[in-house]
Symmetry: C2
Subunit: 451 residues, 2 copies
């Protein structure tokens, strides 16, 4: 296998690295997990041809390839281990085209989501997917995981914002999927199939993105507290049921809120206090916010509403402080279940029961507009203890029992593989494996991930 | 093979028909085409178990099965011929659930699009896909073709309005794909893959649909005429570029307009006159319509705007009269190319050149908001003459050369099979066939369609 590394180095020069630091970095992502050992080499592709060359060699020699973007994934999908090659598209960061008339951008996969959106802003356009990681995550990674974010209840997930993909298959074949038009139904929708496939079907080397106008009009923000998380969740469900469509609607449970307030140096609230953030935008921003405010107050919330942008940002800062606040508690396993919106109160109750049963902390935030919860399972030490895995398993069971899903926006990766069959069933899992085989008959692309 | 029909009749009773009328009806759809001869039998499934029973038998005996809904397709995908079984889901029309809180409906595939939306209206909800055929086409057929319609530039296509599918595979296995939650990325997105697969991968027997609130606020409608279709297309492109998002924006070319005016008994316009219809909705309806009106006038259009609902409906009636007006011209082959929006003027010019070259009429309407054109190639007699096929081929070439696609919303079926490889290329077509095989190893589901 070292021979292949030598061959690649001869062909690709300094794009191939076997430096200890590079190998070590590729063992991990942002999941807190780490692979069993160092991979063979990290190839930082600068062109599509680099990607093709690596896959042709790997295919010929039967060597596993782990595709990698910015390495910000939360499920271990980009972690590489012994005997594997890492193929990074992080250096392919060019914007090839911004077409204002057709509202389309053509980009390389390595560009950061926020960098792309900063480049689009002068054109009055944006790419709607806005994962919380947007400053550090790449467009290619957003596509590989079908990333969601704060705005997607109103503005859609990644799948709805991608028109076409350039993909290199396991054998090095470059394939252009999809189209540049808004609509198109020519053959099977392989673009949609690739989105969220977590590097198991092909390597994304280019994307034709559907852009949308940056919303105009006011932005209104509401920060509200409730005596319990169930009350707060009931209010968010009532807002959805009232046909109000907030741009963002975030729930913060009491455990998370206490940690965030401590982290920000703000005074404590009464035990059990939960937080609800609502932001509306567009022409109806104010009237929608006033309607939401009335619901919040009627359901026992204490709320403040503003149309001042800076004050709105300060309110959102509470939610944005979640990740740093968690770091002060210890290590966290970040989970990502989703349930039908009406089941949010039941899911929060289930999380509390599970935390109490195991004597652990599970601070939880949720994108309430789409029923997606992020329970953070807190633990000490370098390894995820068994009790945390057991609690995670019970979380998944509870979500599935409520008509939900294992993962709303992070993906399966290595972390949730053991539960995949619980949701899909044996027959669908077998079908998914046959499809994987149609793309990658030798099984070299991101093996032991997802399936 | 008659044995299989006998076996099915023994098992399913009067769900199995070999009546001449039923067989004859299943030879055609709304494409104007007809299969080479009568199929073996038509099975009108009333339950999921019926569908499974038919597929188990067909799979065992290697008999082709043509899935069929309302039979309103425009590409021949539901046409059945000698040696084939027709499996119709048209009688499975129940709404199993409407959940207002989660904005979800669970339905059987045979329900008509418009019937579903009438049932949703009292709940203040709708299922957004609105093909022009909505009164006669089924939800299952809308899903099998990823149907578009007049509103989809603003409100999305079918793929964006389906959360989960119950599908019976070729061997009779029932599989539940997707989920009930708004978000979910567990494994490969087989729901998206099934949408638009035209009956080649499985038979849709149930769907979990994402509903959206019926827009509130005013509706504003503009009817405008321009001296040429290129002027009208330039105005529609300018409206899009100005970040206005009409609910519907329809172009009618001079040949189509003349036929429609004649059909409606309205006075002729000057030769070359083209029509542009714009409808805006929601809170910003009036301000958006006024901005569109200013653009239309500045670009040489003569326009009338109304916020009166009845007058707006009368304006839209011009567009709705397209299909009946075509019937007065002769037979038509309805095409469905899509191009990037900025290329609409170029595509209209190409259509005129092709029509003149062959001495034929190609009245054309377009969903301007998403660049989707429906050229209607007019001919006489029962068979599509060679000159029409040649002209259609040139249309496809022109669309592809402009960065477009063969089909925006009707699908490939049998009509566009010969051009599929021109868009996909040999390698992608081979990959699509391997995926088909992963679902249907014996190739019994809708053979000779699409691929």
């Amino acid at each position: 296998m070292t021979d292949v590394v030598d061959l690649l180095r001869a062909a690709l020069g300094d794009a191939v690295s076997t430096e200890a630091d590079a190998l070590e970095a590729a063992r991990a992502d942002k999941s807190g997990q780490r692979s069993a050992g160092a991979p063979l080499a990290v190839i930082t592709a600068r062109t599509v041809e680099h990607v093709q060359a690596v896959l042709r060699s790997a295919h010929e020699h039967g060597i596993a390839v782990v595709p990698r973007g910015a390495g910000t994934g939360l499920t271990g999908a980009a972690m590489a281990g012994p005997g594997e090659l890492v193929l990074s598209t992080a250096a392919m960061t060019r914007i090839l085209e911004i077409d204002e008339a057709d509202q389309v951008a053509v980009v390389e996969p390595g560009i950061r989501n926020a960098d792309l959106n900063r480049a689009l802003e002068p054109h009055g356009l944006r790419w709607a997917p806005d994962p919380a990681s947007r400053e550090i995550s790449s467009v290619g990674g957003n596509i590989a995981t079908n990333a969601g974010g704060l705005l997607c209840a109103k503005y859609g997930v990644t799948r709805e914002a991608v028109l076409g993909l350039d993909v290199v298959l396991a054998d090095g074949t470059l394939m252009r999927l999809g189209h540049r038009t808004v609509k198109g139904v020519t053959g099977l929708d392989l673009t949609a199939l690739l989105i969220g496939s977590e590097g198991t079907l092909g390597i994304i080397v280019g994307a034709t993105l559907k852009l949308t106008p940056i919303p105009t009009g006011a932005v209104a923000t509401i920060g509200a507290t409730f005596p319990t998380i169930e009350d707060a969740a009931a209010a968010s469900a009532a807002i959805t049921a009232a046909r109000i469509r907030p741009a963002a609607m975030e729930l913060i449970d009491p455990v998370a809120l206490a940690a965030i307030l401590r982290h920000l140096g703000l005074p404590d609230r009464a035990p059990g206090t939960a937080h609800l953030l609502v932001q509306t935008d567009g022409e109806a921003a104010e009237s929608e916010a006033r309607a939401a405010l009335a619901i919040i107050t009627a359901l026992g919330g204490t709320a403040r509403m503003t149309t001042d942008q800076e004050e709105g940002e300060r309110m959102l800062a509470v939610r944005r402080a979640m990740h740093p606040a968690m770091e002060s508690l210890g290590q966290v396993l970040i989970e990502d279940v989703a349930v039908p919106r009406s089941q949010l109160p039941a899911m929060f109750a289930a999380i509390r029961t599970i935390a109490e049963r195991h004597g652990i902390l599970i601070p939880t935030v949720a994108h309430a507009g789409d029923g997606n919860l992020h329970p953070n399972l807190v633990y000490e030490g370098d390894e995820v203890p068994d009790v945390i895995w057991r609690a995670a398993g019970e979380l998944f069971e509870a979500a599935l029992a409520l008509g939900g899903t294992l993962t709303g926006e992070h993906g399966i990766g290595t972390l949730k593989r053991r539960w995949l069959v619980d949701e899909l069933g044996d027959e669908q899992l077998a079908l998914q494996r046959r499809i994987k085989q149609a793309f990658d008959p030798r099984g070299i692309l991101n093996p032991e991930k997802v399936f």
